[in-house]
């Protein structure tokens, strides 16, 4: 077990494409850190550099206090779980798990003892003689975990290990990996593009975009206090609604509506006053928007909106709306999917809501939950 420290890590490819730019990250001993970001953000490259499968162009990388930049993968005392699991199809489960011990020339009895222990932990004992082709996705995933565990490494590196599983199994394996990591207490760096995995599994989450680290924080703080519009848009599903408005006195003006901000909003963000008379980006999460006909007791402010479509999920309704405001792109390529062509906002309504597609409604919003961003830099105010 060890801490993993990345200092000013850069990766530049031959065509001068910079995949990672000045990455600074400190993963504590026994911590479960998630690297998350949209496709092409450099998260897998960062992981592969830690593993030693990609050269580091510049910067320093220490695992357990040892500088490993020039070390081959085998000497870094890490184990990796690949997206494809990389199980050898011609070997049995036992042989796959014992492979690193066999390479190291460990005696047969020792190999058997260790593999049996791991198989017991991962409930693979009855499958030790099977070939990977005869295993289910979840079982293969566990074998890949076993192969990593057998080496008793200082750190686990996992590259989207659940992306090949169906939705239901993914939920189960998410819990299994989390509890296994807690049980083993091994420093783990886990790459994913799925922000539900990021929010539910890690002690901390590092958000990357275009090779640049945006924010490292606990899932809760990442959700509640994103440092910029990208993190705000990327974390949370459906994404946060971001709009442009003009701050006039205490009011946010956009198109045909105005929202009065409470004094507390300015007290919490002293910088917000400096945007008076200027444009500002405000964000609100879908769960902080309400069907006004159900919320008369709470006295929220309301704005006009037109319902364009509804996704009825049983426990909630995801309502796509059009409001008179200019939507701001957070820079997350995946966020576009949350909005249709005809809508610019998404709300999460209770299932008792009677709104229907095409109806004109009053949309209630909890202005205490607003997030504000600089329209130029997209940094949080």
């Amino acid at each position: 077990m060890a801490e993993v420290i990345l200092e000013n890590i850069c990766k530049t490819y031959g065509n001068n494409f910079r995949a990672i730019d000045q990455l600074n990250l400190s993963v504590e001993d026994g911590e479960f850190l998630i690297l998350v970001g949209p496709s092409g953000c450099g998260k897998s490259t960062a992981l592969r550099m830690i593993a030693g499968l990609e050269d580091i162009t510049s910067g320093s990388l220490r695992i357990g206090g040892v500088d490993v930049v020039d070390m081959p993968p085998k000497d870094r005392d890490i184990a990796m779980v690949f997206q494809s699991y990389a199980l050898y199809p011609h070997m049995t489960v036992f042989e796959n798990i014992a492979f690193s011990m066999r390479l190291a020339g460990k005696p047969k009895a020792e190999r058997k003892k260790r593999v049996d222990e791991i198989a017991k932990t991962l409930q693979l004992t009855s499958l030790l003689d099977s070939k990977p082709a005869n295993l289910s996705g979840g079982q293969r995933q566990r074998v890949a975990m076993g192969r990593a565990m057998v080496r008793e490494p200082a750190a686990f590196l996992m590259d989207e290990p659940l992306s090949n599983l169906d939705a239901k199994l993914r939920v189960q394996m998410r819990a299994e990996i989390t509890s296994l990591q807690k049980q083993l207490g091994v420093t783990t760096i886990y790459v994913t593009h799925d922000q539900i995995e990021a929010m539910t599994m890690g002690d901390r989450v590092a958000v990357l975009k275009g090779g640049v680290l945006q924010q490292v924080d606990t899932p809760k703080r990442l959700y509640e206090s994103p440092v910029n519009a990208f993190v705000a848009g990327f974390i949370g599903s459906p994404s946060m609604n971001l709009f442009e408005a003009t701050l006039t006195g205490d009011e946010l003006m956009s198109g045909t509506f105005a929202i009065r901000l409470q004094e507390a909003a300015f007290v919490r963000r002293p910088g917000l006053r400096s945007f008076a008379g200027r444009k500002v980006v405000f964000g609100i999460r879908p769960e902080d928007l309400y069907d006004s006909s159900l919320e008369s007791g709470r006295k929220y402010q309301t704005i006009p909106a037109k319902v364009t479509s509804i996704e009825e999920l049983g426990s909630e309704h995801i309502v796509h709306l059009n409001i008179d405001a200019v939507r701001v792109d957070s820079g997350d390529p995946d966020a576009v999917d949350d909005f249709g062509l005809a809508s610019n906002a998404v709300a999460r309504f209770e299932p008792i809501s009677a709104v229907h597609s095409g109806s004109e409604i009053r949309l209630a919003l909890d202005d205490a939950k607003f997030h504000f961003f600089d329209p130029e830099t997209h940094l949080a105010i």
Binding site: K74, I78, M80, F82, H90, M91, R147
Partner: protein, 298 residues
């Protein structure tokens, strides 16, 4: 639909696949099965083809060829020629495929080598035979180079000496046949997921361990399939040997194909030639069945 119409429709559906197959079945029947059955018939007749009313000979011709020491020499030469060819085709093909698949070789050089290595495959057996006859002539390039390098003291008659002729034709056949393995193995190598090697790197595998534990097992289906096919094809090689040595000197390069040919067209003993051909057929059939069983097992 009436019952009659329904049964007519069912019959049409059942017959359709056979109707589609019928042209190829007809051609195979005429060009392969008919000659094969005829040759088998000849092997049990006296003076087959030569006489209008050949008499039944039983296993006489089989007894005759099994009693002929040249037949056994031919069988041994065939096995040597075939086994050595297949082993070296595979080894050279594997080495070249690994080389062409390696990231360490400059891509331009790799493309040039790919063309060069595949060249022998483009030549017909006759051209290969002529090339090697010229190269291995007593006054040819090979002798001259070997003598200059001090490896041999005097000119060697590669195709005319009983000590070297079989090795020389085998060598020429190896040269001509490795590209099939090379191309097949290269395709196989390119299909092995990169993750396997990366996982092995992390586990601490050395280059030879990756070859033994990952590359070769992953290529095994290709190695077995191509080896069996190569074995079947090489056993039947005729033109290369016929043009280079004609089976000589003193039967030292006689293989089953040249032995059979000579029986048929030099001695005009078509019945015995047919018996010899049936022996080749049985050996090939055994290998083919083995190949089919292997393919089915996969």
């Amino acid at each position: 639909m009436t019952r009659q119409k329904r049964s007519h429709h069912r019959l049409k559906r059942a017959a359709a696949p056979y109707l589609y197959l019928s042209p190829s079945l007809l051609i195979i029947g005429l060009l392969m099965l008919l000659p094969m059955v005829t040759v088998i018939g000849y092997s049990f007749q006296n003076s087959a083809v030569l006489r209008r009313d050949p008499s039944f000979a039983g296993l006489k011709h089989y007894h005759a060829i099994f009693a002929d020491p040249v037949f056994w020499a031919s069988l041994w030469h065939t096995l040597y020629f075939t086994c050595m060819s297949v082993i070296f085709h595979m080894t050279i093909g594997m080495v070249f495929a690994l080389m062409l698949n390696s990231d360490r070789i400059n891509p331009t050089l790799r493309n040039i080598l790919r063309v060069l290595y595949i060249l022998p495959w483009l030549f017909t057996a006759v051209i290969i035979a002529v090339i090697w006859r010229l190269l291995l002539e007593p006054n040819g390039v090979v002798n001259s180079v070997l003598m200059q390098m001090g490896i041999i003291g005097s000119k060697v008659e590669w195709f005319s000496s009983t000590a070297t002729a079989l090795h020389a034709v085998t060598f020429a056949n190896i040269w001509a046949g490795y590209p099939l393995f090379m191309v097949s193995l290269l395709a196989g190598l390119q299909g092995i997921p990169k993750d396997f090697y990366e996982a092995a790197d992390i586990d601490g595998a050395k280059a030879y361990q990756k070859l033994i534990f990952i590359t070769i097992p992953q290529l095994m289906p290709i190695i077995i399939s191509i080896s069996l096919l190569d074995f079947i094809w090489t056993m039947q090689v005729f033109p290369l040997i016929w043009i280079t040595t004609g089976g000589g000197p003193i039967y030292s390069t006689e293989v089953l194909s040249t032995y059979t040919y000579k029986l048929a067209f030099s001695s005009y003993n078509l019945s015995q030639a047919s018996a010899s051909a049936v022996v080749i057929l049985l050996i090939s059939l055994g290998l083919t069945l083995f190949y089919i069983r292997y393919q089915k097992a996969r």
